[in-house]
């Protein structure tokens, strides 16, 4: 393992400290309980507060999306491990401007259980909390026999659009409804060319030969559903986009937002090669590309790989997506 760290046990603490030092205009960091990151002007009176969080190692998710028009607080857990209820509760209290708080939770057992407990504690303290579970990953069969689909890169779109709804003054019920609408309209799937190494584990999360690809990975270094031999980029893109298109399903005349997300170790040039093919497939199917987003937003440490996300949009979702946002990782319109 070769990493820019001092001590595996301190990677999250030191990263968060650096984040706070770099962006004091946008966020402040609360360290007791550890690492609640809140929007600099929180709580905003009368505005629904948005809290998200999860294991660290997916940067810029979630801390990078704290600010005007998006999240009010992010709660980073240990590396790839959901936070405990205490900091989630503290974040919820810190961002409650009297209009209630929405928890945006990725569908992993640990995240769901810890956010659920925090929501119960917040309720006991008189704060109204609603929760939205994000589960956009089509690689996982949603059935009685799994923990359900994972929440992956689509989470960023839920946070952006729900954040805009909260910013314009929607009620807690309305913001939660928008968040659920985004979740029900968004689908993702990813692949890995090389695994990542969790600092405390010290060795790669899975073994992958030089000429192999994992299809259908999540964002925690967990292996995918199948492993295949390496193929040209266009063919790999087809393997990701076809299950996504079939799942919703997306059809001719739909308008979509296409997010090509790097997993942390893939250069932007390759992400654009992927985007090129994905856009070509959409055009062949008569699907209109309404918005594009390309970059590494929901990562898995230094994993080499990419995920594709399609969001079916209407005028309301587009307006909210286009609304001003000012965070470390997304900024426009302001």
């Amino acid at each position: 393992m070769k990493k820019l760290i001092n001590d595996p046990a301190k990677t999250v603490d030191e990263g968060v400290a650096g984040f706070a030092a770099a962006h004091p205009d946008l966020v402040r960091v609360v360290v007791d309980p550890p690492f609640v990151i809140v929007r600099a002007d929180a709580p905003v009176a009368g505005k629904v507060g948005l809290v998200s969080g999860g294991g660290s190692g997916h940067e810029p998710l979630h801390a990078g999306f704290v600010g005007f028009g998006m999240l009010d607080a992010a709660v980073p857990g240990a590396m790839f491990t959901s936070p405990t209820p205490d900091p989630i509760l503290e974040a919820t209290k810190q961002v409650d401007g009297g209009a209630g708080v929405l928890h945006i939770v990725k569908n992993y057992t640990g995240d769901v259980l810890n956010f659920e407990t925090a929501a119960e504690l917040a309720l006991a303290e008189g704060i109204e909390v609603a929760s939205v579970i994000v589960d956009d990953d089509v690689a996982v069969k949603d059935s009685l026999y799994t923990a359900g689909r994972r929440g992956v890169a689509g989470t960023l779109l839920v946070e952006k659009i729900a954040g805009a709804a909260a910013q314009r003054g929607d009620t807690l019920d309305q913001v939660a409804e928008i968040a659920r609408k985004v979740n029900s309209s968004v689908r993702s799937m990813g692949l890995a060319l090389a695994p990542c190494t969790v600092p405390h584990a010290g060795e790669p999360s899975f073994d992958l030969a030089e000429d192999e690809v994992e299809i259908g990975i999540g964002i925690h270094g967990e292996p995918g559903r199948v492993r295949i031999a390496l193929e040209p980029a266009d063919r790999l893109v087809d393997r990701l986009i076809e299950p996504i298109l079939e799942d919703l399903p997306f059809a001719a005349d739909d308008r979509v937002l296409l997010l090509v997300n790097g997993m942390g170790g893939t250069p932007l040039s390759e992400l654009y090669i992927v985007f090129r093919r994905a856009a070509e497939v959409l055009a062949e199917r008569g699907i209109t590309l309404a918005r594009s987003l390309v970059g590494s937003y929901v990562t898995s440490l230094e994993m080499q790989g990419v995920s594709l996300t399609l969001l079916k949009v209407d005028d309301e979702l587009l307006d909210l997506y286009d609304a001003p946002v000012e965070t470390v990782a997304l900024r426009w319109g302001r």
């Binding site: 309980p33 294991g55 857990g77 240990a78 590396m79 790839f80 491990t81 959901s82 936070p83 405990t84 209820p85 205490d86 992993y108 057992t109 640990g110 259980l113 810890n114 407990t117 690689a139 996982v140 069969k141 009685l144 026999y145 799994t146 923990a147 994972r150 969790v198 405390h200 584990a201 060795e203 999360s205 899975f206 999540g218 925690h220 270094g221 967990e222 292996p223 559903r225």
Partner: protein, 207 residues
């Protein structure tokens, strides 16, 4: 000693902390195969925090007081799925123990069953889902069948939990992160079932 008192409970938890620290890498390796490689690390963080809190307990705590301290500490330090699941297990165990000064064999079975029921309620897992329930349930059953001797009940629970953990290897996972792997989880032992086995083995070995 006829039953299990607060001092025994405290020695047991100290033994668990030592075992988790020693086998941290092994638990993480099991989790790396079918999960996200943090189970040993997370449990170790939790039980090290428990050790720090145990020092603040008075000299003669009840079993329930020790178990409750373990519960609240694990919930607020472990995170992931293991934090709420083990936290709930110890919390329900503490509630079942109540303020009894010591537990006899029947009391032990009550406490183990309450822990197991708490895990089932939180995680909504059933037997054969390839989770820690596959170690807890046979342990509860074996302790109940062991008769009036509390030491025999502890030993039976530990043996059954170990066998239950091994028996998760051929299973397809239906809960937790391993469920994403489908058939690819087959052949790997569930890390939560293994840590359950570790906890109950430590209990049987604690004098």
């Amino acid at each position: 000693m006829s039953g299990l008192d607060g001092a025994w409970t405290r020695r047991w938890i100290e033994a668990v902390a030592a075992q988790v620290a020693e086998r941290k890498a092994e638990l993480t390796a099991l989790d790396r195969a079918i999960g996200d490689a943090d189970h040993g690390e997370n449990l170790d963080r939790g039980f090290q925090a428990v050790l720090g809190k145990l020092e603040a307990l008075d000299d003669a705590p009840t079993p329930g007081a020790v178990l409750k301290l373990v519960a609240t500490t694990l919930i607020s330090t472990v995170g992931g799925a293991a934090g709420p699941l083990y936290g709930t297990a110890f919390l329900k165990a503490a509630m079942a123990a109540g303020d009894r000064p010591e537990l006899d064999a029947a009391g032990l079975v009550e406490v183990l069953a309450a822990a197991r029921d708490g895990i089932v309620a939180r995680g909504k897992a059933e037997l054969q889902d390839k989770t820690m329930v596959d170690a807890w349930t046979p342990a509860v059953d074996a302790a109940a069948a062991a008769g009036d001797d509390v030491r025999a009940a502890l030993e039976a629970a530990a043996v059954a939990a170990a066998a239950g953990a091994v028996a998760t290897e051929p299973l397809v996972a239906h809960k937790g992160r391993a469920s994403y792997l489908g058939e690819r989880a087959v052949g790997h032992r569930d890390p939560g079932a293994e840590s359950t086995s570790l906890i109950l083995r430590a209990a049987a070995d604690t004098q």
